[in-house]
Symmetry: C2
Subunit: 219 residues, 2 copies
């Protein structure tokens, strides 16, 4: 058994799927965590499970509730915006307070318990949606938290936070994912979670733009 284990935060979207394929490419045996947090687009959970299975990785769905809402992805009373212009620098209503920190906390807990040396996740700063918890500064600050606040850190066995896509554009991610064999057609991006992607939300917008720029057809 390889002792190179990683916990992968898998959402069912194409970024985290690419992060999973990168982790496997680096020789990690992967355990995927998928979060059911009351998101509108619950279809992504099924997508994530299928993608994990396809790579032969183990997978756990973690159900959490964020009963205070505060995001249009959780609260159907907050309107889901149609696509924004990419230059807009306001934090969008789809931002879920503290979401990435919560996901990473669970991933760290899991990594400590399983003895995994790395946590992979797929945030990126370009073409992203203005989420503060996708910024590299956030991930850098978290490293310090890990070294201070975990048993692994206290015993100088560092758990690495791997964000291999953080400085890549969506088009670069798609090109890289294509090379690694990521099954894009199985991934789900649309925030609305209907039968077919809406083509109008931020997530659909950036996906379409990314494929267009990568010169790859999104099936």
């Amino acid at each position: 058994m390889p002792d190179k284990k990683a916990v992968v935060l898998l959402s069912g979207g194409l970024d985290s799927a690419t992060a999973l394929y990168i982790a496997r490419d680096k020789g990690y045996q992967c355990h995927c965590l998928v979060f059911d947090y009351g998101q509108r687009h619950r279809r992504e959970i099924e997508a994530a499970k299928i993608i994990a299975k396809r790579t032969g990785s183990t997978c756990q769905v973690i159900k959490i509730s964020l009963p205070w809402g505060g995001s249009s992805l959780l609260d159907r009373k907050i309107k889901l915006a149609k696509k924004r212009f990419p230059a807009q620098d306001k934090i969008p209503a789809t931002y879920v307070p503290g979401r990435n920190l919560i996901f990473l906390s669970f991933a760290l807990s899991c990594a400590e318990a399983l003895g995994a040396g790395a946590v992979f996740s797929g945030p990126h700063v370009y073409d992203y949606s203005g989420y503060p918890d996708c910024r590299p500064e956030f991930y850098r600050a978290l490293k310090k938290v890990i070294s201070c606040g975990t048993k692994a850190g206290a015993q100088h066995k560092q758990i690495k936070i791997m964000t291999p896509l953080v400085y890549k554009t969506k088009a670069e991610i798609i090109r890289l994912g294509g090379k690694l064999g990521v099954p894009f057609r199985l991934t789900w991006s649309c925030y609305r979670g209907g039968k077919a992607p809406c083509g109008r939300c931020d997530s659909c917008y950036y996906r379409a733009k990314g494929f267009r720029e990568a010169g790859i057809k999104d099936r």
Copy 2:
């Protein structure tokens, strides 16, 4: 309505109850989060609800699962140690990987959604049980994470992490709690969660020692 709102991490033990009473004493309107994470000592959840109610605070129980275990508080196959000698500097088996980071992540999410300016919690470095995530360094590192990774931080509205007990001994906490009117008899410390405290686990040991040193009777 006061706009000084705080989220309080309440466990049902005497430390977090004292933190709640401190927050109220500072004029905060408190919203308590209580975690049901599969702990042996589920009695503490009921204790926490009663204490929150008593202070007129709102309270939500957040159910989470940590299916990877890794702690004697979660996994009944791992033996719960009898009391250790206080000088022992090993991290005990009751340490739950990433627990405090998970709790704090939820608290931050809640604070952002409610517009609260502070999160109170009751860790302390003396007489504690050697948990890395009770150390002040951990809380200091977390501040940076908050300023980088939250909407509030990005908008320069800082959410303060308040750990008023961090440098206090158990005896000092008990004396302070006594002054503030903390109903100690309603708090629950024992890890075993039986009908009556076992008197032998770490938590019972430090509680008894604290009351003895404070010269206060634990009813």
